[in-house]
């Protein structure tokens, strides 16, 4: 049915408003350095109106660009006194488009390289031979750990208004305790474990222990996927 109206390109086909603009510039054979803003805005809005269903998040990005185009047009219409002649209100947009155009071009070269690489197999690129429903774990970085720890500590801070000083925690003892826990439970849930700590001080000591154990490669911190629960495992002997 849509075909009755001739050739149409859905918004979904575009990465974003810049992509759509570049498409229109090419279609209308417009010189990118001298864009007729009125024409391009009209074309651009026509495309937006073709959309039937609305994806708010995407729509917002496209609408923002429409507003920008209209703003540029209005600036060009208004008599300008204090602004030097050379300053073109289109300049910023043109630079963005040129930058974006380069990225797109680089993408098409990289896509070709990817295609070539797909035909070459290395042992590193072999698909995992494990069961399908096996969870793929990724090792977490120091940033992930620190981030998780900080959020937790902020939460704890509020609860821990008063505490009685007395017990001191040694790194060594804590490390042993942590390892014993791991031997028994095979893994340790980062959040749960630190939530169980009695005081801020104890939690800090535990965190340093964990970092040390990771550093000397006795344990490994993994998560199922980004922003998922972090779990700590004992490293298996490789021999």
């Amino acid at each position: 049915m849509d075909n009755l109206k001739g050739y149409q390109v859905k918004l979904d086909a575009f990465q974003g408003p810049l992509d759509l603009l570049l498409f229109l510039i090419r279609k209308k054979k417009i010189n990118i350095h001298d864009i007729p803003i009125a024409t391009i805005t009209r074309e651009y809005l026509k495309h937006l109106n073709q959309e039937e269903k609305i994806d708010l998040e995407r729509e917002a990005e496209f609408l923002f660009m429409a507003a920008l185009l209209i703003h540029i047009k209005s600036q060009m219409l208004l008599p300008r006194e204090n602004i030097p002649e050379e300053e073109d209100p289109r300049q910023v947009l043109v630079e963005r488009l040129l930058d974006y155009q380069k990225i797109k071009a680089a993408c098409s070269i990289l896509r070709g390289k990817e295609e070539e690489q797909m035909q070459k197999w290395q042992r590193t690129s072999l698909p995992p031979l494990s069961l399908e429903d096996d969870i793929e774990l990724t090792e977490v970085s120091l940033f992930d750990l620190a981030e998780a720890f900080l959020t937790l500590m902020k939460k704890k801070e509020k609860e821990n208004i008063q505490f009685i000083k007395g017990k001191e925690f040694s790194l060594e003892a804590k490390m042993k305790e942590m390892l014993a826990y791991l031997e028994e439970n095979s893994f340790l849930d980062f959040l749960d474990y630190f939530n169980q700590q009695e005081s801020l001080e104890e939690a800090f000591v535990s965190f340093f222990c964990l970092l040390e154990l990771i550093k000397v490669k006795i344990v490994i911190a993994m998560q199922e996927s980004l922003f998922h629960a972090i779990k700590v495992w004992l490293r298996k002997e490789s021999s």
């Binding site: 990465q15 974003g16 810049l18 963005r96 098409s108 990289l110 070459k120 197999w121």
Partner: protein, 181 residues
Amino acid sequence: MKIHPKHIIESLIFISLEPLSLDKIKSVLTEFSDKEIEGAMKDLLENYTSNEKGIQIIQAAGGFLFSTNPEHDLWIKRLLKFERKYRLSSAGLETLSTIAYHQPITLAEISALRGVDSIHSLKTLLQKKLVKIVGRKKSPGKPLIYRTTDKFLAYFELDSIKDLPSQEEILKILEEEKNLD
């Protein structure tokens, strides 16, 4: 039988799961001079340049790695019962190339360059270990900054970040596109 450094290097590359750098090879082959090793490496690469072999040596991410001959793709897939490898999505590739050319870069900067919010693409790239967090920017909000990884280089068979498509190559593509219209 005399042991030739060329053959040792071949074994070392064979056993490596990651691209093996020349420096690493030198640090292992202590019995040979740097010059001997470089010569042997060149020799070895020449042995592998012909297309008649099943195995090739590729140079990526600053090292050497064995890879199968692209012409044998069909049979490898048959052996592994593997339909196809997954390509990056358009959004993913665009985000990745934005990072590659503008690194170190923050999420906000990536989104500004692309004109769209890039958080989802970025998350996927982080998961695939094609990009990594390298720290925080010293600006309001201290946003995280990102860079591409060695895995990224290996993925596109680039030896270093300098081997990304150059300005000239990019301009050529743009010129070609213009002529297509």
